[in-house]
Amino acid sequence: MKKVTIFVSLLLVAAFLLAACGGGATETTEAPEAPPTEVAAEPFKVAVVMPSSISDLAFSQSMYDALVAIQNEMGAENFEFVYTDGMFVVDDAAAAIRDYASQGYNLVIAHGSQYGSSLVEIAPDFPETSFAHGTTVDTFTDQGITNVFAYEARSEEGGYVNGVMAALLSASNIIGVVGPIETGDAKLYVDGFKAGVLATKPDAQVNVNWTGSFSDVALASEAAQTHVNAGADALTGTAQMVVGAVGVAKEKGVAWFATQSNQESLAPEIVVASQVYKWDVVLKQIIDLINQGTLGGQSFVIDLENKGEVIEYNAGYALPEDVKAAAEAAIQGIIDGTITPLP
């Protein structure tokens, strides 16, 4: 009996080490570590706390990509950032935010609307540190806090543009939407999308399915399947579990419209366009303000006008010229105010 025990333990240890090694060996992308900088000018140091994974192809990844973009632009010697992802537990996020703040980062980004209450308690303790909080419009200045910036995305704008294209591409005039729960960024995107469809084709039908979860990929997939069975020939969806729905669109050859991050890589043949969040637009303004000595009190949006939201057309998808023209017209209309994406 003892021998069996020892043998099995050894086997297990060996196996798991192998498994871990297999993973380790293929490791090519190092986490962006703070490099030892001996440069004369102090680099600008940012810490970010995010609720989901940096590889979610959605909300958290959009922020991570923005930081990488800024770092590439400013150079690693001038801009450093560290991150903590997967902080869906607000307590843990609060501890992380406080910890980063106490380490003297120039800017601590709390990338989740649910972190607001924690930030109200933390920010006053670190008057020298600047915080950015999104997505929200509230900078808490009414509570005497002066070092919090707020940012949000007008996700309904890109939603509207996607809706216009979906309406024009749809032959059946039935369009399906897959969302997590009917709140926040997801609700705004879906409302804008619906408005875009109906403004283009008032007789079109938009079916919306809220799966009740940000993580249930299988249910999102089946929701998309249900839309297709109900006659939909254009689909969209928001949040990280929609990768399941993209798969169904790909299998059925149905047009897909993406938001938050560019999802072309998942299905190059059917992703028509992606509304991509470019948080760097907002972050650069915030960084400038901090360098000038303003630590908070202002609220920012990314939208089509300031190019914080960009509609990225998939080059691999043969988008008819007139549809693209209509999309561009919608973008222009939203920018100059002749179109309001929310009814």
């Binding site: 009996m1 069996v4 025990t5 099995v8 333990s9 086997l11 297990l12 196996a15 798991f16 498994a19 871990a20 297999g22 993973g23 380790g24 293929t26 490791e27 992308t29 989901s52 994974s53 590889s55 979610d56 192809l57 990844q61 997967g86 399906g176 729960i181 009917e182 079916n207 919306v208 399915n209 809220w210 799966t211 009740g212 979860s213 993580s215 249930d216 990929v217 299988a218 249910l219 997939s221 089946e222 929701a223 399947q225 249900t226 839309h227 069975n229 109900a230 990280q240 579990m241 990768v243 399941g244 798969g247 790909k250 890589s265 998942l266 299905a267």
Partner: protein
């Protein structure tokens, strides 16, 4: 409005969705049934599913061969099952807590390996749908039942196979006797340890395949927490199914079909808040168990540690 739900299109759609969605639950519940019948409650099913899903996906992605992916999921599942068996049988640990530990380990490790090796969400071409000749041409039911991928057929095939093993083979009888009265089984010369190792490892294999059925057959993606708690639902469904494979079939189909139904309720725009619609499968599973299902008692030795000579 409600009558919209009873059109052939919707009913076919619900059945087709239900059959697909039930696949991972079927594998996981049948596997867990073996373990529980022998007296081991494995709460770590979800963690094993995630490891199976990742390893299946990774190998398929690297080799472009979904058979190798399936093999990887089977091996990973077996390894995780062996680990659970070692902890709960040899080390005689409290089963509930070791299962939770195994779940967290699988949840973390699968995502860690995913981030280190792939980095972002990717897709593979997994098991393709296979039309069964002639049968798939039958109108209406053909597309529902006979145009699925191989892992879906496999899940349903497991029901008669598992039933046969449990009821008609000596091994099946040994499993049940170990789960009902390990001391008596031991006295009759049945090795409680060997039987439990086998069932828990088998359960791990099934859970691994359940994960793979998501990542390389139904969804063809991997993502952090891909299963989203399915393994826990599977454990619950084992109680629903009364430790009989046919019960697992009904439980999985009921839960999945109600889920498919609620998707249709929303798609058709029926005036029910989406949050209540998404509650339906859970509520109905409880109600069905209360009113409709013959209740079977728990295997007597479930979660009980077997110490020789203490019977």
């Amino acid at each position: 409005m409600i009558s919209d739900l009873f059109t052939p299109m919707v009913i076919i759609g619900i059945l087709a969705s239900g059959i697909r969605l039930a696949t991972p639950y079927l594998y996981a519940t049948i596997g867990e049934t073996f373990g529980q019948l022998s007296g081991v409650l494995n709460l770590g099913v979800d963690g094993i599913m995630l490891m199976g899903a990742f390893s299946g996906f990774y190998v398929t992605y690297m080799t472009d061969n979904y058979w190798l992916g399936l093999l990887a999921a089977i091996l990973t599942g077996a390894l995780m099952g062996l680990m659970m068996a070692f902890i709960s049988v040899t080390l005689k640990s409290e089963q509930g807590i070791s299962g939770i530990g195994l779940y967290l380990f699988g949840l973390g490790l699968s995502d860690l390996l995913f981030q280190v090796s792939l980095g972002t969400v990717k897709t593979v071409s997994g098991f393709p749908p296979i039309d069964i000749p002639i049968l798939s041409d039958i109108p209406v039911i053909g597309p529902i039942f006979f145009q699925q991928n191989l892992l879906v057929y496999g899940a349903y095939l497991m029901v008669p196979i598992a039933t046969f093993i449990l009821n008609k083979t000596t091994w099946g009888l040994k499993i049940k006797s170990v789960g009902q009265n390990p001391a008596a089984a031991d006295a009759l010369g049945v090795s409680v340890t060997a039987v439990r190792y086998a069932t828990v490892t088998l359960g791990g294999i099934f859970s691994g395949v359940a994960g793979a059925s998501l990542s390389i057959a139904l969804l063809n993606v991997f993502q952090q927490n891909l299963t989203s708690g399915m393994g826990f639902i599977a454990v619950a469904l084992v109680y629903f199914g009364g430790w009989r494979p046919i019960g697992m079939l009904w439980g999985s189909l009921l839960f999945s079909s109600v889920n498919a139904l609620q998707l249709w309720v929303q798609t058709l725009g029926l005036p029910i808040p989406s949050d209540f619609a998404t509650m339906m499968p859970y509520v109905l599973t409880i109600l069905a168990l209360i009113f409709a299902v013959r209740k079977v008692s728990v295997p007597a030795a479930l979660t009980k540690i077997f110490e020789r000579g203490e019977g």
